[in-house]
Symmetry: D2
Subunit: 244 residues, 4 copies
Amino acid sequence: MASKALAVIVGVGPGTGASIARRFAQSYNVVVLARNPDNYSPVVQEITSNGGQAVGISTDVSNSNSVNAAFDQIEKQFPGSPLAAAIFNTGGGAVRKPFLELTEDDFSNALNSQAKGGFNFAKRALPLLLKAKDSSAHPPTLIFTGATASVRGSANFAAFAATKFALRALAQSLAREFGPQGIHVSHAIIDGVIDIPRTKAWVFEHEDAKLSPDAIADSYWHLHTQPRTTFAFELDLRPYVEKW
Amino acid sequence: MASKALAVIVGVGPGTGASIARRFAQSYNVVVLARNPDNYSPVVQEITSNGGQAVGISTDVSNSNSVNAAFDQIEKQFPGSPLAAAIFNTGGGAVRKPFLELTEDDFSNALNSQAKGGFNFAKRALPLLLKAKDSSAHPPTLIFTGATASVRGSANFAAFAATKFALRALAQSLAREFGPQGIHVSHAIIDGVIDIPRTKAWVFEHEDAKLSPDAIADSYWHLHTQPRTTFAFELDLRPYVEKW
Amino acid sequence: MASKALAVIVGVGPGTGASIARRFAQSYNVVVLARNPDNYSPVVQEITSNGGQAVGISTDVSNSNSVNAAFDQIEKQFPGSPLAAAIFNTGGGAVRKPFLELTEDDFSNALNSQAKGGFNFAKRALPLLLKAKDSSAHPPTLIFTGATASVRGSANFAAFAATKFALRALAQSLAREFGPQGIHVSHAIIDGVIDIPRTKAWVFEHEDAKLSPDAIADSYWHLHTQPRTTFAFELDLRPYVEKW
Amino acid sequence: MASKALAVIVGVGPGTGASIARRFAQSYNVVVLARNPDNYSPVVQEITSNGGQAVGISTDVSNSNSVNAAFDQIEKQFPGSPLAAAIFNTGGGAVRKPFLELTEDDFSNALNSQAKGGFNFAKRALPLLLKAKDSSAHPPTLIFTGATASVRGSANFAAFAATKFALRALAQSLAREFGPQGIHVSHAIIDGVIDIPRTKAWVFEHEDAKLSPDAIADSYWHLHTQPRTTFAFELDLRPYVEKW
């Protein structure tokens, strides 16, 4: 279990996270993190039963102790395995409320799940990515999943936009600091509804109006395979009929 | 003390905050908030001795209890006084460190001082601004002070950029929600070194290379006096020789 | 007629241009340029009959010969008069068509009226603004009027967005080159319908839903009076009920 | 020669254009356009001698007659061949001069080569892309090559930034109009020096400091293969050590 490279994905439910895990499992061992094992267990089983290697660890990304415990376990379970890719894909904090109804807890929880969560994750992932630089087929990669709210503070989205803007700032800052050290840091703006079990019932006027989680995963894999001469920092992804 | 309108400014030290207080004190009673009374006392005395009305309240903007206590005191001390302007100008969170040296406390403190502070302040200011709509000479105004880090995540500025991006998201979201209700929400990007006591010794190649706090205050006053037909949301201010 | 400073405004019809002319005529002699004398004559008469000094010159800003002739006449008519402000406010090129119906002439005319027009105007204005540096009460100022289309390429607006994006690029480039030489270059994004004779009949759901040309002029004057320590480059102006 | 799909690339010299042609020639017949046959002949020969199909047509993209003649020839030579991809990659207009030394011709040439050229190219490409919708393996794709100057008006780059901003506006407008019709319109911001014969002698402090044209081509191919559920509009590409 030692030498094959590793991808760690946080925020793995039945949607984008699972697609990313599947895609990266074609080349790497994968570790998937989520609060609730029910979220990651199906994809772990699926990858394993297809002959891949996947491990799930129950993790609360907004809590540094929990993130640290997860990474301690990863390092114990995959000693010497270089970290090729770390992907931050949590969905927390997406509260929508008129501002005067937004509670202090709503706002703090939003900040903690994305901005603080991204910080906790990057703190543990970056040293491993740096260590993997010479043994990785592609430049070690750290990708953050953004949203429309990463670049637009809409009415009733004060909390979500605040934490998504903050996460984008973190991604930019890390790209500028760790890019020159050979780490590929990227930020993907997912602008639209993703086609996942939770949104299955949402009907749109046009067909194909929801983002494909597999296609998002393909774009993340493309980012990962870019050589250091030609890093993309930011990518916006949306369905062809999306208004923007 | 009842009917004259009120301006509340948080983040008042000897620099921009004091200039804003002085400028708005030409027309309003002013309340200045800062953690340390040493920061606001000189400008309170100056305004008072010039015949104006100014009150300082020691406040920790990152703490909602402290902000609530301050606003409770304001409402008691100025009953019936419409809130014409609320200005969020705190300087906290400006830590500069390589990311791997940044502690969890650094990051949390940064998020708390600007993003959370802005939230706490807006939660109490907005109901008062809404109430003042019909009695105010100019549209009630909420201004947030931004920085270069509000729009650029530079290397070694992960924490400060995260919280400044978040504050800008908050400002945008509030502008879109409360603009149509007649409240003028603005965000000013201060891009450069401000000419304050702390930066007096900083020497630049060219003269006039530092932002004037009085000129910043004049721009804030201009924003405040715009009619609702013609609101500016964002303004970037920098010295003529600043690289950008 | 020699020593009083001068403001030159191009694109003067009965709307924003006239308001800017009126506002700057409170302090300066003004020269107003437009293709059709019918557009500028009323405001010239109004300023003159109020004791101000105003001159109109028929000019096609997309034609460098015409712009050169206008500036030659200005220099002859106001010898020694420092150029305090030059304002580019033309409205040309605002064609709205499905792309496949857009003709080559539509596209070229749009590029010529704004991008090329801005170039022609700046080429003649900047040497005069530089010469005025030491004799002007405020830093000599060059302001470009932008629109929603300056920052957003909407469907059916390919030509107008192309030329407005180009004009903004020109403004940014000039701000970075001439700012350090003491010239204040600004760009105002006018995002909404302006309340002018042509739009009088347009009815909106809310009152005050159109931008006030006088308020726009006040913001331009504010930009002009900023000291070089504290230049704003960009300002977005919109009615309080505008969606953005 | 009828049914295999087609890619048309304009701006093909020994750098990015040739790499794009090579990459798309793995799946399509390619037509390469450039002013000077010396620029496209080597890649045409290379592709042909490797068993691919490539045709070069001498074209001045700033001249609509020349673009029309090229497309007329394409339609004659490849009747019934669906246009899968059209790529606008011209390098013209990159003049760098202090503004007051910039001539009217410099500015007009810059506007013509990119903004006008992009217009001429899109006018002929879009009807063919629309027609190819049902016969193309991937959504028909129109990609524009941008540069740092597409999003930043630097000092001494007024002409190049104006035309690159305009081209980006065109791309945005077309993406919003033709995306819902199933055409994938993208804009790539190439931020840095590309590793081509002309820049071979440019030495940088770090190795791999220049963009790889082949890696750019891989990203363009990735854009092309995205399904319509998940279109990227914009991508920024730069070397890992690039300052931004």
